[in-house]
Assembly symmetry: C2
Homo-oligomer: 205 residues x 2
């Protein structure tokens, strides 16, 4: 098999496993879903599943790298006239747009599944919070490096913390009252706008 | 021994243990300090220490209850003309003032030790983040209950998340560049003011 073909086949299997996991987690809950069921639903062996994901919780956090790259790319692709607040607003916008895009055939209904699980399943919460904390540190570093003259590390930290803290708690409140994925994203859109107003004042200070 | 006297003696021992732990953690690091050393520094046996604190990490989080009560009291003691933003601003102010008050004889130099450890020692981070997350949920609930007509759960979540996210990341950035406790609190004071400006717009939306 040619290298490119093999790579595409691997990508498809990975996506099928991810989609099956998200569907089963959404339908019957995270705890009650076994890796054997996920493998069966994706029509592969459990052994094959473990070639792609070391554990069930790794599937929940599978989109993290993609999201980290999205933020890094947004910072890298800034224009000459963009200030830190413009870039931060674009990061928020893209993270939310990304949350709305269907992953494979799972579609809209399942897009918020990983975030929902990470915030509401006790055994996933600690890891999710640590990953989110590390992500924010990374974004503070990247923003400070991209805007050495406009942004000191403390202001960058305050801005990132404010934005992500707002998103995190609003998403949780929205999950907890049973909102749909589309409703959650709509709420997040509206609070981001407001958080960004606060951050704009940070920049002027 | 009379009940009140016994209670005061217990309080003093607990405080002595806490102070000794904070001093040793600050001087030689969290990982390198043993419970036996803490007990010796407080002039009690290790067995006595375990009557007060089940583990070393419990000492780091010993002030949590006090801080939760401080927030609950601030909400309960609101005046008839206070809106949610006034109460939130007062919560932030009291949390920072609380961080500046010396605990027992440890004084200013050690006050930020528990927060610093919780944010920078890997084995404490996950627990610290979970406790902080739970605290925020609790504050969102309490604020929503206190202001049923002015505040919906999503707006309360956005406000609390924004404020605490700002404080958390700014404190971390300030710790990481080696600021003193007084400097850290000064930085936090200044970013709180800005976060509150953003939150004020949330209320009007």
């Amino acid at each position: 098999m040619a290298e490119g073909l093999r790579e595409r086949k691997k990508q498809r299997t990975r996506q099928a496993l991810f989609d099956a996991a998200m569907r089963l987690f959404a339908e019957q809950g995270y705890e009650r879903t076994t890796v054997a069921e996920i493998a069966a639903a994706a029509e592969v062996s459990t052994k094959t599943l473990f070639n792609y994901f070391a554990s069930k919780d790794e599937m929940v956090f599978a989109l993290r790298e993609q999201r980290m790259n999205l933020v890094a790319d947004t910072i890298d692709e800034r224009g000459p006239d963009d200030g830190p607040v413009d870039v931060l607003a674009r990061i928020a916008e893209r993270l939310l747009a990304d949350a709305l895009v269907g992953y494979g055939e799972a579609g809209l209904a399942f897009t918020a599944v990983p975030v929902r699980l990470a915030m509401t399943v006790p055994e996933l919460q600690a890891k999710a919070l640590l990953l989110m904390f590390d992500a924010q540190r990374e974004w503070v570093r990247a923003l400070t490096k991209a805007f050495p003259d406009e942004l000191d590390p403390l202001t960058a930290a305050a801005a990132v913390g404010s934005l992500m803290g707002t998103l995190q708690m609003t998403a949780l409140a929205s999950f907890e009252r049973g909102d749909s994925s589309a409703e959650i994203v709509a709420h997040l859109r509206s609070v981001v706008g407001i958080a960004m107003n606060g951050i704009r004042q940070l920049e002027r200070s």
